[in-house]
Amino acid sequence: MTARGTASRFLTSVLHNGLGRYVQQLQRLSFSLSRDAPSSRGAREFVEREVADFARRNPGVVIYVNPRPCCVPRVVAEYLNGAVREESLNCKSVEEIATLMQKLADQSGLDVIRIRKPFHTDSPSIQGQWHPFTNKPTALGGLRPREVQNPAPTERPA
């Protein structure tokens, strides 16, 4: 579909995150993988080797690992603004899963859709947005268009 047909949003951050301190927006990661299936081999290796270090590097994220009988291993990421993203780890290698986890940790919970402008400011104008009446003098009673302010003193007697 075209850009007009799909959703879009403006560039923004959740509650001006980063203006003061930066708070990691990822709240929870829930892994569900299988003990036996070959499709979750990468997920199993990730849980054995990498997940403890990832948890130590991101102490603000709670990580739940639930090995259960399932065909497709998944990870559900929940963010502080309530957004929930589910990713499939089916037949992924350990490196791919690690990069995916890092990407989820770096994201905020805002939707991944087209951003209309790559910039945003809360104060677009400091001195006031120009309009045709800025820098034009005002008169009591108001001037009508094409009316000269001071008529030429032709009737004045010499």
Partner: protein
Amino acid sequence: MAALWVAGVARKSLTVASGAPRREFWSRFRKEKQPMEAETVEEVKKEPVLVCPPLRSQAYIPPEDLQSRLESHVKEVFGSSVPTSWQEISLEDVQMKFSFLARLADDLGHAVPNSRLHQMCRVRDVLDFYTVPVQVRSKFDELIASNLPPNLKITWDY
């Protein structure tokens, strides 16, 4: 027709399950004989006690005097004329290799698996193999036992 078929199936299932219900349906005067038969059957079955011996655990901890034990076995198998570099003795002779590995398996309670026999070319390889301890606990127990960060929770749904 359907009723006969159902009755036939029911009778078959009852006979497959046990003989006692069938006797109850067919003849009541055999009830007195049933407890007698059950007792004799039980007495006969009590005599040969088939108890499965407890499985030997696959755990192996290398003993502290591993080197001396290996050296003594080398002397037994290859004769007492053993050079000081006894670790470099090659195991090309199949008979000597088998007797050496069999003695070690009996002594230490841990055998070289078939898939790794081709890797045992020298006594040094055998020594390296036997210095590696083998633990029986599952990956989940190992993960739980290792110190996890407080934001990582692992459950087990199996």
